[in-house]
């Protein structure tokens, strides 16, 4: 029984150790600015197309679903409001985070994993570089900064997608749609809509790097690490969105 828990508890301990070191390194030199910028480009700019696509379609789908439901109450004018609230509070952050977990989290795990099995991480340490400073901290910073920005873009494109659908199916005018959408949002929504992707970004980067750096067992191990990173990060995204929502719901 004790042995059963030993593995996961040791792993959790390692994870918190990595988290501590990665966060501490943010305030320590050397700062690998080039690596941070490169990662911001890979994670942020690289994820832009898929985030725009999924964001746009999720807004459109929301509008499509809601237009039927709202029509039964004769409240089709409210479609902008509903799309805005669901997108900004929940769908935008979670969908963008899942995409970035699938794209960048897995990338981090496989890149660091192959560096581990080819002894590049050992070589880095042997040549006097802290791999956490050089590899983990830049990815952590880049994801924590870029995911909120990606989410804002996803929200905006989603709102536009929702407008497109509601103007076609419900003949909603632009001013009606955007006015209700704008008035529906309060600071509370924006705050949780930005806090969530910030937290998810930290989770994705740390989980991806953690499994990457733990890789063992050759190339097979790299595939395993990649899968684990995506699955674990995705689960944590849902757990965290629940608790963050909980905090904000209580504050209203």
């Amino acid at each position: 029984m004790l042995d059963f828990f030993k593995g996961p508890i040791l792993a959790l301990q390692d994870f918190f150790f990595l988290t501590g070191r990665a966060l501490r390194n943010i305030f320590r030199s050397p700062h690998y600015t080039d690596d941070i910028l490169l990662q911001m480009d890979i994670i942020g700019v690289g994820s832009l197309p898929i985030v725009i696509l999924t964001g746009g379609f999720s807004g459109a789908v929301m509008a499509l679903q809601m237009s039927r439901a709202l029509a039964t109450y004769g409240a089709t004018g409210q479609v902008g409001q509903i799309v805005a609230i669901t997108l900004v509070r929940e769908l935008g952050p979670v969908l963008s985070a899942l995409l970035v977990a699938g794209r960048s989290g897995s990338g981090m795990a496989s890149e660091l994993g192959s560096m581990k099995v080819t002894e590049q991480i050992d070589a880095m340490r042997a040549l006097g570089t802290d791999p956490i400073q050089k590899l983990v901290t830049p990815r952590l910073l880049a994801t924590a900064i870029m995911l909120p920005l990606l989410t804002i873009i996803s929200d905006l494109v989603g709102l536009a997608g929702g407008f497109l659908v509601s103007s076609i199916t419900l003949n909603t005018t632009a001013s009606q749609y955007w006015n209700t959408a704008y008035r529906a949002l309060v600071w509370n929504d924006l705050a949780q809509g930005l806090l969530k992707p910030f937290v998810f970004g930290i989770v994705i980067a740390l989980v991806g790097c953690f499994y990457g750096l733990r890789t063992s067992g050759g190339t097979q191990g790299v595939g395993l690490a990649t899968t684990k990173a995506v699955v674990v990060a995705s689960v944590w995204i849902f757990v965290f969105t629940f608790f963050i929502t909980q905090i904000f719901v209580n504050q209203q």
């Binding site: 080819t118 002894e119 590049q120 050992d122 070589a123 340490r125 042997a126 040549l127 006097g128 570089t129």
Partner: protein, 280 residues
């Protein structure tokens, strides 16, 4: 450096390390003196790589103590290990070249890192780096591959680039982990010639892990002649490389043999004899 009392460069005292249930090293003690060459034989999984990683401080022993250049490094923090590691060059079994960097940047890495090291002491002026990198690559005959990436090179070329990176800041101690593994005999001999050349031109203390009997034979009986630029056989019984070359054999984490070439050749131990049997 007076020849009479060579200093200890790498010393293990009763070092053991376990991973879960695997005992990777079991009570290993040895002492490698300055100017010596140590050849380490052993079957796959016998703990040779783990031994080198403990020497570098990449792994911490479960018990025992490690001394590098006379300094106890067993409990040192990573940050305090960096200055010691800069005096050790290492060629990893898997190469360890950075995939994301060109060969030039890989070889320049130890030099550039020395400039920006946390202790802040600039050791190599930036304008000299390029020259030093070229020189190191010329040493391994890889000058033409400056802007290539490791993935564009053959296995033998990657090893040579690895040797260039390991030797570029002229460390007094060189560690080679299976430098000839997975290479054809011709390429393997070329790599061994480079290792001998590095040892004899830069006067480094060297530890070489290998499973090829001939690698040890070459290291023990040949030296690099700087005039002719070739290897030449050394006479036995002199105070040449042969006397300074010692052998170790690892078996299942234990040090099962330590001694000179003659002692190795005379050993009747069946496991040790395995590393003499393949004499082609």
């Amino acid at each position: 450096m007076p020849d009479s009392t060579p200093q200890s460069v790498l010393r293990f005292e009763h070092v053991s390390i376990t991973f879960g249930d695997t005992v990777a090293l079991n009570d290993v003690s040895f002492d490698l003196k300055a100017g010596g060459t140590r050849i380490i034989y052993g079957a796959a999984g016998s703990g040779k790589s783990v031994m080198l990683k403990i020497a570098l401080g990449l792994l911490k022993p479960s018990s025992g103590r490690v001394f590098v250049f006379g300094q106890d490094t067993t409990d040192l923090k990573e940050k305090d290990l960096f200055p010691i590691r800069s005096k050790m060059g290492v060629l990893f079994q898997e190469g360890g070249l950075f995939d994301s960097m060109t060969i030039e940047d890989n070889v320049a890495y130890p030099l550039e890192n020395a400039i920006t090291a946390p202790d802040g002491k600039a050791r190599i002026p930036a304008d000299q780096i390029s020259g030093r990198v070229r020189e190191a690559l010329r040493f391994v005959e890889l000058e033409q591959t400056l802007v290539k990436f490791p993935s564009e090179l053959s296995g033998g070329m990657r090893r040579r680039a690895g040797i260039a990176r390991a030797t570029v800041n002229e460390p007094p101690l060189m560690l080679y982990d299976s430098p000839t593994a997975g290479l054809d005999p011709i390429t393997a001999n070329m790599i061994m010639a480079l290792i001998i050349k590095a040892r004899d031109t830069k006067n480094t203390t060297s530890a070489i892990v290998t499973h090829r009997y001939q690698d040890g034979q070459l290291l023990a009986n040949f030296r690099y002649n700087p005039e002719s630029g070739r290897l030449e056989r050394t006479e036995k019984n002199g105070d040449g490389v042969c006397a300074r070359t010692t052998f170790m054999v690892f078996g299942e984490g234990r040090l099962v043999f330590e001694g000179t070439q003659d002692e190795l050749d005379r050993s009747a131990d069946p496991y040790v004899s395995k590393f003499k049997a393949v004499k082609q």
